[in-house]
């Protein structure tokens, strides 16, 4: 079997490294392999940038606009009654 210290990281392992989840045996490879470290650091930078992206909000009143068009089921069964409370 090949020594895990010598094997380059797979794309899955690169993502794990970027998230700080790579097992120690493979982490040791990154510490000694400049090529894997460069790739993994670039990957981590991108993943962090993506995770920081804004969560946009729809225009104010979105919930009310949706609720005005949703049918609320009545407790008596499969009958639906249009929601009129807006």
């Amino acid at each position: 079997m090949t020594d895990p210290l010598l094997l380059h990281l797979t794309p899955d392992e690169t993502e794990l490294w970027a998230q700080g989840l790579l097992p120690a045996t493979r982490d040791a490879h990154v510490a000694q392999c400049a090529e894997c470290r460069t790739i993994a650091e670039r990957e981590r930078k991108l993943i962090r940038e993506l995770a920081r992206l804004t969560r946009f909000a729809p225009e104010f009143g979105f919930v009310e606009r949706v609720m005005a068009k949703v049918k609320i089921p009545t407790p008596s069964g499969p009958h639906f009654r249009p929601h009129t409370n807006s």
Binding site: L46, L53, F56, R65, V66
Partner: protein, 185 residues
């Protein structure tokens, strides 16, 4: 009876409140048009809430709602691809005046307040890079790295084999890095 209905209404409202931002953000980044993204988000919530009785709790609710939102975005993008105007204007235009009137105005960006807001929100390098990805790569990367879904969840949302999802995400990240490096050089 009335209290039960109110209870249902309150639960529906809570669901919309909890998911409005993630669903709207995904759709906005997919179609890059605020008004359209809001229409698609409304369509998604109405579909989900009206079909809540058929929801299978074996699956995560978030997977179900993201699947419906993604389908709405992909349907729209397919339609838009068919309807895309050429730079010469509408294919139905028969005279030079009609062609010129229906041609896309390339210099018009940012003229209305809504366009200005869109340019501000989606104008950054990373947003531009995401926009350049093919739609299936874009959905995968947004679900994985913005929404934090697992690969397995993404495979369920998109009805794709797990291996395909992994390939799409790895390729998408490579492309994103390439686009970002191009811009920085």
């Amino acid at each position: 009876m009335a209290w039960a209905k109110q209870g249902q209404e309150a639960a529906f409202r809570e669901l919309v409140r909890r998911y409005e931002r993630p669903i709207f953000s995904l759709l906005y980044r997919m179609v890059r048009d605020r008004a359209l993204a809001e229409d698609l988000a409304q369509e998604t919530f109405i579909k989900v809430l009206n079909a809540i009785g058929s929801y299978n709790p074996q699956f995560k609710f978030s997977s179900w709602i993201f699947k419906i939102a993604n389908n709405a975005a992909i349907d729209h993008l397919r339609k838009r691809e068919l309807e895309t105007l050429s730079l010469d204007g509408s294919p139905h235009a028969t005279t030079p005046d009609e062609m010129s009137a229906t041609a896309p105005q390339l210099g018009d960006r940012g003229e209305t307040p809504l366009q200005e807001l869109e340019a501000r929100e989606l104008g950054g390098a990373i947003e531009h890079a995401i926009a350049r990805l093919r739609p299936e790569y874009r959905t995968c990367i947004l679900l994985r790295h913005v929404e934090g879904h697992s690969y397995e969840e993404i495979a369920r949302i998109l009805d794709l084999p797990l291996g395909t999802v992994k390939t799409y995400i790895h390729r998408a990240r490579n492309e994103l890095r390439g686009y970002l490096e191009d811009r920085r050089e």
